[in-house]
Symmetry: D3
Subunit: 126 residues, 6 copies
Amino acid sequence: MFTLGVSDHMMVAHSLRGETFGPAQRLHGATYEVRVEVRAPELDADGIVVDIGLLRSVLRLTLAPLEYRNLDDVPAFAGENTTTEFLCRWMHGALAGQLGVRAGARLRVTLVESPNAWAAYEGDIG
Amino acid sequence: MFTLGVSDHMMVAHSLRGETFGPAQRLHGATYEVRVEVRAPELDADGIVVDIGLLRSVLRLTLAPLEYRNLDDVPAFAGENTTTEFLCRWMHGALAGQLGVRAGARLRVTLVESPNAWAAYEGDIG
Amino acid sequence: MFTLGVSDHMMVAHSLRGETFGPAQRLHGATYEVRVEVRAPELDADGIVVDIGLLRSVLRLTLAPLEYRNLDDVPAFAGENTTTEFLCRWMHGALAGQLGVRAGARLRVTLVESPNAWAAYEGDIG
Amino acid sequence: MFTLGVSDHMMVAHSLRGETFGPAQRLHGATYEVRVEVRAPELDADGIVVDIGLLRSVLRLTLAPLEYRNLDDVPAFAGENTTTEFLCRWMHGALAGQLGVRAGARLRVTLVESPNAWAAYEGDIG
Amino acid sequence: MFTLGVSDHMMVAHSLRGETFGPAQRLHGATYEVRVEVRAPELDADGIVVDIGLLRSVLRLTLAPLEYRNLDDVPAFAGENTTTEFLCRWMHGALAGQLGVRAGARLRVTLVESPNAWAAYEGDIG
Amino acid sequence: MFTLGVSDHMMVAHSLRGETFGPAQRLHGATYEVRVEVRAPELDADGIVVDIGLLRSVLRLTLAPLEYRNLDDVPAFAGENTTTEFLCRWMHGALAGQLGVRAGARLRVTLVESPNAWAAYEGDIG
């Protein structure tokens, strides 16, 4: 199994609903380092999983509408708790739709929210 | 599949028995960065795998009795070779017991012992 | 010259005033890794610059009132642009006041706001 | 499942053939951080997956003939596009042959080519 | 004293002349992480040392002509040994010319060439 | 001013004397990442501060007698409190003696003892 990974980041504000979140119920923020990995059982004719430049562009375009935003005000997240896990799955969906269906390929999105906490979501593409 | 991870560290002394270990048979020490990841197929009602604050507390409480200790003198490890792999599995057991049984969840414990060496153990919770 | 350094982090929201800041004028957020270094020409009787545990506690207590906050609403920052540079100097002042005056000692505060941007302020203690 | 990992690095030049690679078709270079992980379901009699010293030596010996080389001139890669993915699989083969066949063991090789791009190959040993 | 820092990277090939360099006399390559820090005794009217976006753009534009190149063929480096130290000073000059003269400001350029080696050059701007 | 830096690491045990050190008075251990930087106002005839290979060898030879040791039993440290600051200064002296006297050169030794604590000593060479 092959993997190709790239990373980028975004700086956003948000708040979380529910007593579980304690002080994180208040409006705060995070720098999320976003790591995206595409996994495939075989390489293509160029000897790659996916073009690094393409994957970086797709990631950048996906993060751009969220950059320097308060996620509590982003329509796509209305009514949702934007936990790190939720954001990982949302980005998985947004990225997978742009990468096209490829037999057997999988996509993993990891968000690092601090030097000692992170979350990830992994699933099929398409 | 979702993942939630947190990290902490501990500073301990120990020695290893067996010619395989060469100079590491002498009493020496290590700063272990400990990375704990819980994996689950679904999020709970709060939209998380597990509460970050809870996972950090459980990890801290698990490391506390080992901190600033010579592992050769820790009763729980009597007669054992405290290799990095062994410590990963031991922590997996100690942490899993505190996290409770959750259907389909898995736990991965990684110990980074130096800038270029690490070990991990992954298994079911419960 | 000796240096002793410790790090911690905080997750906050804020916005910046002024066209210079472009999209960062919108309410957004950051995970700031905070690195604090004390420099002194000589060691004390214990052979240290400052006690690591003490420095960590002072740093934690300084960050606590800001954690999970919108800095735009923090009274101490009323009327200020909470740029990374400003926050470094503010923390320098807050920390220096708790460390006491020590002849020849200096304090450096670095805030890392993303994988590729950071700021720092260095000055005398006292 | 247990994992034991070590890392090293090499500095090489190369060029890539195919329009997909854009500017990387020109002769350029990379520092590759090489991370090698051996995974096994059980520990051996010494309580380890594999001896760290042995794994480091095998990795160093595998990288040595490539160090400070232009990969375009290395006979082993004649006619090949030395993409990061290709190099991961090649190293997997080179390393697996030296580690011997072990029931159920797997080997993962990751090459980090820059602060925001990496590739990996994982497969059985033997 | 305030500092504002940003980082970027480039992937290049080159060779070094002189027996001192041993195997690095052969054509090889490197991923250089480039860290640029501007230091100034005072903040400007916006409360910053220099605009992060501006500094990033200036750094990107400076690296662009070198990206995916063999430095042995770059006219600006004709007859020079492109050691890491030399490249740091060259970038200092190239960047300083674009940042303008500012009283008391200094510029530090660090190139990280591998996980365990780096070089830097620091001097006045203008 | 130019800087050339290299890093290595060692794994040792030790204990500290004095109530200031709290639990670190017990025998424990650390993985110390050791970063060594040589600073000089001018480059030599090869266009470098110091040969990277030489600096790495000198560092390795300096760490070798301490590797996998209990520092409490190392004769060179008899009667000393092997704090991180002390070890930085000791290594500064050991390294400076091997690098020779060079006009205007300085040496900085940093020991990173955990993900959030480090110390350094900087002084002239010779």
